[in-house]
């Protein structure tokens, strides 16, 4: 059974497609990182998954339940944290925690205290008096204390300092490992994803572009550096090309899913020397997403 399962999911806003035939299946357990450029459809996907938007086509299931028919009990099993960390500014931290504790049957007061300890806040403080980072800390503590089966985090660490971020990620790993919770983690912070994610999902313009373990993804993306002694040939039609840059007369090509034969192709095109180098996750994803950004050209299909 999958924690999240979508089938040909579509969502249109007037003339814009936010999601386009998105078919995605995230198994239960582990941390699934979803990355994509702005407007890739991540937030729209979360809105549908939580039942706050109705898809214009396809279907979505969360923890085996149709996303449009989530019961209150099911909602209690799904945690959600958004990047704005929207909390009622008029309440005190203690009052808010007490309210949540009464509503969520699996409330874990110990974990709440443990996470909140990393932030310099007092229960008597009003939410409105908190800085963005402190508010994020409180929000994350509340979400983790709910002991959800599925936790959806949309850019949760924006605004957190290094120590708080580390504490939060540790807590995330803890509930993922100890409680077998499924965590869907959306972030632009690649070092975080590299550190915690078991599965990497790349969305582009509302469609699934790639899904694999982060390490596997990195292994499939390579940087080729080629020296062309004469005029640079037209390289745009090379298979798997994600990004092309010319630096100091050398062509830097970010390539997806190509083996040694790619070097031979470059040599056939007139390259005097060709070198291949591995890339980090950050660079690989950037390169992967850059294709869609810059050239508006077709991208490789989901791998």
């Amino acid at each position: 059974m999958y924690a999240i399962e979508t089938d040909a999911l579509c969502l249109r806003y007037k003339n814009k497609a936010a999601l386009h035939n998105l078919s995605l299946a995230l198994p239960r357990g582990g941390i699934h990182a979803i990355v994509g450029a702005n407007g890739a459809g991540k937030s729209s996907l979360f809105r549908i998954l939580l039942g706050f938007a109705t898809p214009t086509g396809g279907s979505a299931r969360v923890l085996g339940c149709d996303s449009g028919a989530l019961t209150p009990a099911m909602r209690g099993r799904i945690g959600f944290v958004n990047e704005e960390h929207t909390l009622p500014g008029w309440m005190r931290i203690g009052e808010l925690a007490a309210m949540q504790a009464r509503q969520y049957p699996q409330w874990n007061a110990e974990r709440y205290a443990q996470v909140l300890r990393n932030f310099n806040v007092a229960p008597s403080q009003k939410i409105v008096q908190l800085s963005r980072g402190e508010r994020a800390g409180v929000n994350l503590a509340l979400a983790l204390a709910q002991s959800p089966d599925l936790l959806i985090l949309d850019e949760p660490t924006l605004g957190l300092d290094v120590v708080a971020k580390r504490a939060f990620l540790e807590a995330l790993l803890f509930i993922s490992l100890e409680e077998d919770a499924t965590i869907v983690y959306c972030s632009h912070q690649m070092e975080e994803i590299e550190r915690v994610a078991d599965n990497l999902v790349i969305l582009e313009r509302g469609a699934l572009r790639h899904m694999s373990a982060p390490g596997d993804f990195c292994e499939r993306v390579h940087l080729w550096v080629a020296e062309f002694p004469f005029r640079l040939p037209d390289l745009s039609n090379l298979p798997g090309l994600l990004e092309l840059r010319v630096i100091d007369g050398l062509a830097h090509l970010m390539v997806f899913g190509q083996g040694e034969e790619f070097g031979n192709r470059l040599r056939l095109l007139g390259a005097r020397s060709v070198q291949q180098a591995p890339v980090g996750l950050d660079r690989a994803i950037n390169g992967f997403l850059a294709r869609g950004h810059v050239a508006n050209a077709p991208l490789p299909s989901a791998a």
């Binding site: 249109r12 806003y13 007037k14 003339n15 497609a17 386009h20 035939n21 809105r47 939580l50 039942g51 706050f52 938007a53 109705t54 214009t56 449009g68 989530l70 209150p72 009990a73 909602r75 209690g76 799904i78 959600f80 958004n82 704005e84 929207t86 909390l87 009622p88 008029w90 309440m91 009052e95 007490a98 309210m99 009464r102 509503q103 969520y104 049957p105 582009e204 313009r205 469609a207 298979p239 798997g240 869609g292 077709p298 991208l299 490789p300 299909s301």
Partner: protein, 614 residues
């Protein structure tokens, strides 16, 4: 639920306390400057509008923040049914309305009752409840508008005004108020779901959401369409009421004509051999007119006042205020504020209650069936005349020549003019039954002759609202009081029949439903509640108007069918909606457009932006 309720109270408790304090100060200030309880319904309506805006504005602010996507998720995504979350916020808001609006009002009324000799009736306490309910209904309407997120949803604010805007007794208004609150609550709570703009899934929820909107769209289309049409007529110079010369033979022409001209118009259509002689004689006569001075009497325990309930005896510095509880006037010394006794149907000091809530017209005091005269100098109080129920007086006597003419809702009655002392009872000379319905009576012109009088009855007042039998009737009444018909002509239509019957053909079913409040007595003269309701249902409509009704329904149904073609609904629902629109007319099409949004168009290849696979 309890936590959300308390949370919402915490959110607004400071603002509510400040609002309550300011409100109380304003109430106290107003009570020092005048007596707000004595004001007539017009200023009360302005106050009510203010309270409506308070309730509506409160909801707009409250849900303006909640409806932001992230806040909405925070509020709704929790292990609680959305209905209970909505109920928690609603209960908290009711408490806040009670604190900021109800409590200061209650304190002001209670303080006036306990600490002064001013007249405070039980109806004034009902008024506090009514204001709170009105404010709550405005809050519900505002909540729905904000959650729905469509400007057209604002039509629901008409519902409280429609169902509760009657000068009826407070007890009579409790039922429509409760119905209004229930409808609006179901509407607002129905919008309390994660996907706010999604149409209600089940039919009961759809009906609950659709009914208030149907009424709102009905009036929006009716008034908006009427205004647009009339402005168009004005711009074209064709509006009957706006033209320098009124259309010939119509009600406007007759109403604009003075008495002489009115007789000339009527006599010109007469076959009576004496008509030509009277036509020559009329320009030389002193012609007077009599028209109803009121078309409505106050209802006992009404929450507001139709007119002033007080008169002042300047000589004795005493203000006499009518009490609906005791049905007598209570006196208060203007200088000291001390109580100065009561004034009943037998005069000052009398404990005899009036038979109904009276109207004060100068030195006259008039109840529906009795007319009293008080003499400010001698302080005599005399019952001058009475008419048998259910006949109702519509004004004080008009002195024309040696006669007093009194207009009731059934007759024109002539009395011999009494002497100034009014010591003797008035003597009836004759009475003429009205030749048409009182509701259509504009005025009666009276031309005294040597051998009697000519009477011209203008019965076209509600012609533009589709009331039938608009006519001018001229009668000759001889000295013995015998009436002879001289002329009777139907008035030509100033407006085309579809305009006159617009309220009906727009949606005959809605029109019938909206006639239901007529069953609540509000003192209208000449229209018993049941008869007005029955009349609305059974009134004859010209064939042309029927054609308009059928065409409007068919076109709306066609529009509904086409609209639903892109709404992605099941065939049964599409058929159901179309039949509903066929039955309920164009307003229901507006309801459909609001509740059942269409899906976005399928993308054109150029806009799709769907990347191809490598």
């Amino acid at each position: 639920m309890k936590e959300l309720f308390l949370s919402e109270l915490r959110r607004f408790r400071g603002a509510a306390l400040i609002a309550a304090g300011v409100h109380l100060m304003l109430q106290l200030c107003a009570s020092r400057l005048s007596d707000p309880l004595l004001l007539s319904w017009q200023p009360h309506a302005i106050f009510l509008l203010f309270y409506l805006l308070c309730g509506f504005g409160f909801a707009v602010y409250q849900f303006g923040t909640y409806r932001q996507p992230s806040r909405w998720i925070w509020l709704l995504h929790r292990p609680l049914p959305p209905l209970r979350i909505g109920a928690a916020l609603g209960a908290a808001s009711l408490c806040l309305v009670l604190l900021a609006i109800g409590l200061p009002l209650l304190l002001a009324v209670g303080a006036t009752d306990l600490l002064s000799a001013r007249t405070v009736d039980s109806r004034h306490y009902t008024m506090v409840l009514f204001v709170v309910v009105f404010c709550l209904n405005a809050w519900l309407a505002g909540a729905y508008v904000m959650l729905r997120g469509r400007v057209s949803a604002v039509v629901v604010v008409l519902l409280p005004a429609l169902l509760m805007g009657r000068l009826a007794a407070g007890s009579g208004l409790l039922l429509p108020s409760a119905v209004c609150t229930l409808l609006l609550a179901s509407l607002a709570l129905g919008a309390f779901k994660p996907e706010r703009t999604a149409p209600p899934r089940r039919w009961p929820a759809l009906l609950a959401a659709g009914l208030p909107l149907q009424l709102g769209f009905y009036f929006t289309l009716l008034w908006g369409g009427s205004l647009a049409f009339q402005y168009g007529q004005m711009l074209a110079g064709a509006h009957p009421l706006n033209r320098p010369v009124a259309p010939a033979g119509g009600h406007t022409e007759l109403t604009r004509a003075d008495g002489r001209a009115a007789f000339a118009l009527g006599l010109a259509a007469s076959n009576d051999p004496r008509a030509a002689h009277w036509a020559r004689q009329v320009p030389l006569l002193d012609i007077e007119s009599i028209a109803p001075m009121t078309r409505q009497f106050p209802v006992r325990h009404a929450i507001t006042n139709l007119d002033s309930t007080q008169w002042v005896d300047e000589e004795r510095h005493t203000a006499w205020t009518f009490s609906h509880d005791s049905m007598r006037f209570d006196g208060v010394d203007l200088h000291t504020g001390a109580a100065r006794g009561s004034f009943g149907a037998g005069g000052e000091g009398s404990a005899q209650p009036f038979d109904a809530v009276p109207l004060m017209l100068g030195n006259w005091i008039m109840t529906p069936h009795r007319l009293y005269r008080r003499d400010p100098v001698t302080r005599r109080f005399t019952e001058l005349l009475r008419v048998p129920a259910p006949e109702t007086l519509t004004g004080v006597p008009k002195e024309i020549g040696a006669r007093w003419y009194v207009l009731t809702d059934r007759r024109l009655v002539a009395y011999a003019r009494p002497d100034n002392s009014l010591a003797q009872p008035v003597r009836l000379l004759f009475s003429i039954p009205l030749p048409g319905r009182f509701t259509g009576l504009e005025r009666v012109d009276i031309a005294p002759l040597l051998d009697g009088a000519l009477l011209s009855f203008n019965h076209g007042r509600r012609m533009a609202e589709g009331e039938p039998d608009a006519r001018q009737t001229i009668l000759f009444v001889d000295e013995a009081g015998r009436a002879q018909l001289v002329a009777d002509r139907l008035l030509a239509h100033d407006f085309a029949p579809p305009f006159e019957h617009k309220a009906w053909w727009l949606s005959p079913v809605t029109h019938a439903v909206l006639a239901l409040p007529a069953l609540i007595e509000n003192g209208d003269i000449g229209v018993a509640g049941t008869s007005e309701f029955t009349d609305t249902l059974t009134r004859r409509r010209p064939p042309e108007v029927w054609a308009w009704a059928v065409a409007a329904a068919l076109l709306s149904a066609l529009g509904a069918w086409m609209w639903l073609g892109r709404a992605g609904v099941a065939q049964a629902r599409r058929l159901g909606w179309t039949l509903a629109v066929l039955l309920l007319g164009p307003p229901c099409l507006g309801v459909l457009a609001l509740l059942q949004p269409r899906l976005a168009r399928a993308p054109s290849p150029a806009l799709a932006g769907a990347p191809a696979t490598a």
